[in-house]
């Protein structure tokens, strides 16, 4: 039976993010799409995935989508309900394999801005700031960024570095004192999936979503984004994936939003 192709952009992003989470690993998740991706991974290829929430929820069996990272759903049937000090400490000590981040702006070295658009002292738009993002981006072994891409969000240089990517390039994280061999791993947008070039630590396109062209990527980037050769095409959500996503988010709080 052919798989339906009428999936929503958000369903696709959740599935793509979910597949990056490997069995036997741990993941630090925030609100929204990352929670859905982690929950989907638990219900498909990575049932033992250890999900950790910033406010202290450790290893829950989440019944319905939590609204906040401190919501009581984040420690439902969990193995632990501790504290931010505990969770941040184990992250800093190296127990967290993956971390999810959002971004208002990302630059060519994967540095993220969620603080301010325009001059800092006289902002055009004041955004919420780091929250736990700087901590996730500093502490987790590999971070995955999920964001909407356009030419103002995909920029050569972030206006403000809230959360560290590879800073100014190879070796810069270590020189700044950040943990060795940590940093951004993938960036998932509505157009495709990006990784980072091993040698230059620059963002590069790895895969396009079905139906997306390189021209679309160029039109929605503020600079000439590198493209890996060859690029692949992402696997769309299966009927089963979509069924699980509807179970996880029955009211469509995240899934029915615009990707």
């Amino acid at each position: 039976m052919p798989e339906p192709t009428d999936y929503s952009p958000t369903e696709l992003l959740a599935c793509v993010a979910s597949r990056l989470l490997e069995p036997g690993t741990s993941v630090f998740v925030g609100t929204g799409l990352p929670m859905i991706a982690a929950m989907l991974a638990q219900r498909t290829h990575a049932p033992g995935l250890l999900i950790i929430f910033e406010a202290g929820g450790i290893g829950p069996q989440v019944p319905v989508l939590p609204i906040s990272v401190g919501d009581s759903r984040t420690f439902y049937r969990a193995v632990g309900a501790s504290s931010m000090h505990d969770v941040m400490s184990i992250s800093q000590a190296g127990y967290l394999d993956f971390g999810f981040l959002g971004a208002a702006q990302i630059d060519r070295f994967g540095n993220i801005n969620t603080t301010v658009i325009g001059p800092y002292e006289n902002p055009t738009v004041r955004l919420p700031g780091s929250g736990g993002a700087n901590d996730v981006g500093s502490f987790c072994h590999r971070t995955i960024v999920v964001m909407r891409q356009d030419s103002r969000k995909f920029v050569e240089k972030a206006e403000f570095i809230t959360t560290p990517g590879y800073l100014t390039g190879p070796g810069a994280r270590e020189r700044a004192g950040l943990a060795r061999a940590s940093g951004p791993y993938r960036v998932i947008t509505q157009l495709g999936v990006y990784g980072f070039d091993e040698a230059t630590k620059e963002l590069q396109l790895l895969a396009l979503h079905p139906g997306v062209t390189l021209d679309d990527v160029r039109a929605q980037s503020g600079y000439a984004v590198r493209v890996a050769e060859p690029t692949s095409v992402t696997q769309p959500p299966s009927a089963r994936d979509r069924e699980i996503l509807r179970e996880i988010d029955p009211t469509g709080l995240v899934i029915r939003r615009q990707g």
Partner: protein, 330 residues
């Protein structure tokens, strides 16, 4: 220790550790005394214009909203807020003109529910100044340093970023590894309100679910006001002393405030009131709308009980309880 970099954010809430020890020695009672009082009295006694305020809880979780409404009702001014993932609390206090400075880990947003129209409008117009940036772990460990009575906590976050440049942290060379390390200055808020499910009349408090950063905050803040769903006999605390998260000697006032975090979530007791939060987010799109909200729900209600009647009373609260407990509705 070699200092490699210094953030230029304003240092708020810091004291020399000896000065703070002296302050604790003079001001914090070690006696078991009944600290029950009304919220009106607690806010009037422990919140002063110009104070540095940190709320317990996190985001829309276990935040003492009863205290927030009372601070607005008493028209406190010039407060500096700890934006330690401050969401509904800071949005209301900034919109009401009580808070005009904030140190930001996270503020001006409501997580999944979107950005805060009111506090963003005020901060973008210059009515509230961001004095420094930090991160959630940054705040957490500033409180940890304070509770330990040490001047700073080393950490490996903020490094290499503009968040650090706008923070009050410094970067030094770690004398052991030789690597750069972030030094987070201790943070002693002047006053903190922490909402708990139960405590005794002396302030010995239990917290169900994640404690978030309240263990450290209660030990870092100079004045701690506990608002509680219920006041229980001392025997109940003494029967399970390992459950005491905040012991009496940290506590300056105890206020019984059932449903005191509405419209936020009290884990295991009642869920977010999404309708009410949406009402605020919709109404606060204009300054006039925000002012009308305050007239109706804060100034138009003489106390928190009157507020609970306005938001739908017993029926509404019972509904929120059922949602929290994952029970069938109707």
């Amino acid at each position: 220790m070699e200092i490699l970099e210094e953030g230029k954010g304003q240092l708020v809430g810091w004291h020399d550790p000896d000065e703070n020890r002296d302050w604790i020695r003079r001001n914090k009672s070690r006696e078991l005394i009944d600290k029950r009082m009304s919220l009106r009295e607690a806010v009037s006694r422990f919140v002063h214009d110009g104070d540095f305020l940190a709320m317990g809880g996190f985001g829309h979780i276990r935040v003492s909203m009863a205290a927030i409404y009372e601070i607005i009702r008493q028209r406190k001014r010039g407060l500096t807020m700890a934006g330690k993932t401050a969401v509904h609390d800071s949005d209301l206090l900034i919109a009401a003109g009580c808070v005009d400075r904030i140190e930001v880990a996270y503020a001006f947003g409501h997580e999944l529910r979107g950005l805060s129209p009111a506090s963003r409008r005020v901060v973008e117009a210059g009515g509230c100044r961001v004095v420094a940036e930090t991160s959630n772990a940054g705040y957490q460990w500033r409180f940890l340093a304070a509770m330990m009575g040490i001047p700073f906590m080393p950490s490996r976050n903020l490094l290499g970023t503009d968040t650090l440049k706008r923070s009050s942290a410094k970067v030094a060379r770690d004398p052991w590894s030789g690597k750069p390390i972030c030094l987070l200055p201790a943070c002693y808020p002047d006053v903190s309100f922490i909402h708990v499910p139960r405590c005794d009349s002396f302030g010995d408090s239990q917290i169900d679910g994640t404690i978030i950063e309240d263990f450290e905050l209660a030990r870092a803040a100079r004045r701690v006001v506990i608002t509680t769903e219920e006041i229980v006999p001392e025997d109940r605390i003494r029967a399970e002393p390992w459950r005491t998260a905040i012991p009496f000697y940290l506590v300056d006032a105890v206020v019984e405030a059932p449903f005191g975090v509405h419209p936020c979530q009290m884990p295991l007791l009642y869920y977010f009131d999404e309708d009410h939060i949406r009402r605020w987010l919709t109404q606060s799109r204009t300054p006039e709308g925000a002012a009308e909200y305050f007239e109706e729900f804060v100034f138009g209600a003489e106390d928190f009980e009157a507020y609970l009647e306005k938001i739908g009373g017993r029926d509404r609260l019972e509904h929120l309880r059922r949602v929290e407990l994952l029970q069938p509705l109707e």
